[in-house]
Symmetry: C2
């Protein structure tokens, strides 16, 4: 498929043509969609007997993604991924998505195409239909808003406030990869970065940068996996659905703002406490090495690092049989016990026989870098 | 209730405090909401036997609203209103809404409070529960995204592509008021405008402006109603629901981009044509006078003017009895026959016995002013 001239912008095409172009890139809606893209609103058949789950999350250029560090395709993938992650944390199966784009007039139409294609590709993998949205001009940065709609059985809902003392705290996958990937990307782009529209091509400039002894993220340095995790997080849809269906978890939350923040929220919501075991945390090995090399404490960096989009959940010891069923259904994704829910409120990090205060995760408006 | 210091910004408070503050301004969720604000996603009970209707629409500061011409409270009202209007155009009753805010760090928290309060007030009038959302920092303009969820009976859905030749085209309320109100606001703020945060107070500066003979919109000039229509459009929820319930309309669409655009969309979607009768159009009298005084053709200006958020619908003559029921249920809102659906494709404006080409409505990215 020949790419359009990079010079063609959304302003050149106009709103209607942009909308028509997006529509053309979306596969026809599945059964259950009574009215899809193109009317005032979308109309769908709710799943019989199930509850409807709705979430919305917005990515802003310059805050959640950066044309220097990634492509608009990454932004399209991620905008849907973070919403599917929210559905997964409720135990819900994703069904539908809506896309709201606020586009600078100068935005190349090829970037919009790439964004939509990446979003649609992720949607297809999770049997999620893009059924509507909104395109508008903006004098500001590119803003990508996604609303995701899912469904969950009546007694299968996973809340974040349902943990009980004695529950074991589990986390899926590995921690810290996305944070290390982002940090590595930032380090290597301290030298003049790639132009917008050509972000996938890492610059050769690492040797010229002014930063200290940090390893860079060029291919082969071992951090490419972390960079990929930052750019294209994988929502744990199957895990969330399996936890709900098997009623294998009490509380569940996704790690958008880091495990530290997540357990604070579970503890506060459940009127309980959490004690995490530092030695048990499944920190991504490449991320751990990167954190250590840049002078950070790998444990605290991994707890504090947002955007891993793993799930944390609590489960009493007697649910072990249910968890075994879950493990069989999610094949290959690790679920690691990392702590316990306590009666005492507050969150503690147990390390070397001592308790440490546990930092909370990333907060917008108050950058701490 | 004492207003907070105007100097306090969202950056001063931080993301969590802003979210908590919004949450505190939202009434507790009604029955049917299993999980409301505060978890990864909201969980609701779908209406038994009904279809789910979902829509999302975004307002961008500097494009859809302007701190010089209105308040953030207006923006909060309007962001929900345009979404409720989309639901109404499908015949759907609104049930739930989600609010996605992208906030500049310098945004006064009082502006956020006002925005949320206005949105919640409109939501309450239409029994719509705010069940979730997202707050994020932005280096750009204030962006207000709303997703609205409604429900409609299986055979009550109003589409825009279901018109048939011989249907009568109706429009609710009056046309052109919002466009005239916006134009009047722009004229009077050509002189130095009010500062942000104090936009409700019209400046005394109209006499000093450089514009020509246009009447201004100061209280008493007759345009205040038009200004109010621009700032606080009233979604035609009862009408849309009544049209669906009584199965009194074939096609329906809302007038977000003007009646001209709306009939083009109905005609194209329905593979038919529309002939509008210029003399029958219910143009707002104050707007008509304003258009004439500024040298515009009131008919074309009213057809072209967006943001009226009235409904246009088509209904065959034999549905007259059903329309009578609708009229009884909506009490007081005019429904005016303004044309007919034709077999011949294309859209024509009949005026003084002649056909004229009909302009299409507002298009983003390509401002025509």
């Amino acid at each position: 498929m020949p790419a359009p001239e990079p010079a063609i912008t959304v302003a050149d095409l106009g709103e209607r043509a942009v909308v028509a172009r997006i529509h053309a890139r979306v596969p026809p809606p599945p059964a259950g969609v009574t009215v899809g893209i193109g009317d005032d609103a979308a109309v769908v058949e709710p799943d019989r007997g199930a509850l409807t789950v709705v979430t919305t999350d917005t990515l802003v250029e310059g805050v959640h993604f950066d044309p220097i560090l990634g492509s608009t395709a990454d932004a399209g993938h991620k905008a849907l991924a973070v919403n599917l992650s929210d559905l997964a944390a409720m135990g819900a199966r994703p069904r539908y998505a809506l896309l709201a784009l606020s586009l600078p007039a100068s935005c190349p139409i090829a970037d919009v195409d790439a964004l939509v294609d990446a979003l649609v590709a992720l949607a297809a993998r999770h049997r999620t239909a893009l059924i509507g949205g909104d395109v508008t001009a903006s004098p500001g940065p590119l803003v990508v808003g996604v609303t995701a709609v899912g469904s969950v059985g009546r007694r299968r809902v996973l809340r974040r406030d349902a943990a009980r003392p004695g529950d074991i705290v589990y986390v899926s996958g590995a921690l810290g990869a996305a944070a290390a990937g982002l940090a590595a990307l930032r380090t290597r782009t301290e030298a003049p970065g790639p132009a917008r529209g050509d972000p996938g091509d890492p610059p050769e400039a690492a040797s010229g940068r002014s930063a200290g002894p940090a390893p860079d993220a060029r291919p082969g340095s071992g951090l490419e996996g972390c960079v990929e995790r930052h750019r294209r997080p994988e929502p744990r849809v199957s895990l969330g659905v399996a936890l709900g269906r098997n009623r294998a978890a009490r509380a569940c939350i996704d790690l958008s703002d880091g495990l530290g923040d997540a357990v604070h929220r579970i503890a506060a919501g459940s009127h309980a406490g959490v004690e995490l075991d530092a030695e048990a945390l499944p920190i991504d090995p490449a991320a751990s090495a990167w954190f250590a090399a840049t002078g950070l404490d790998p444990v605290l960096a991994a707890l504090d690092g947002g955007e891993d989009y793993e799930l944390a959940f609590t489960s009493p010891p007697r649910f072990r049989g249910r968890l075994r069923h879950v493990r069989q259904q999610i094949r290959g994704l690790a679920m690691t016990p990392v702590g316990v829910v306590t009666k005492d409120p507050g969150v503690r990090l147990r390390r070397g026989g001592k308790d440490e205060p546990l930092p909370r995760g990333y907060e917008h408006f108050s950058p701490r870098k």
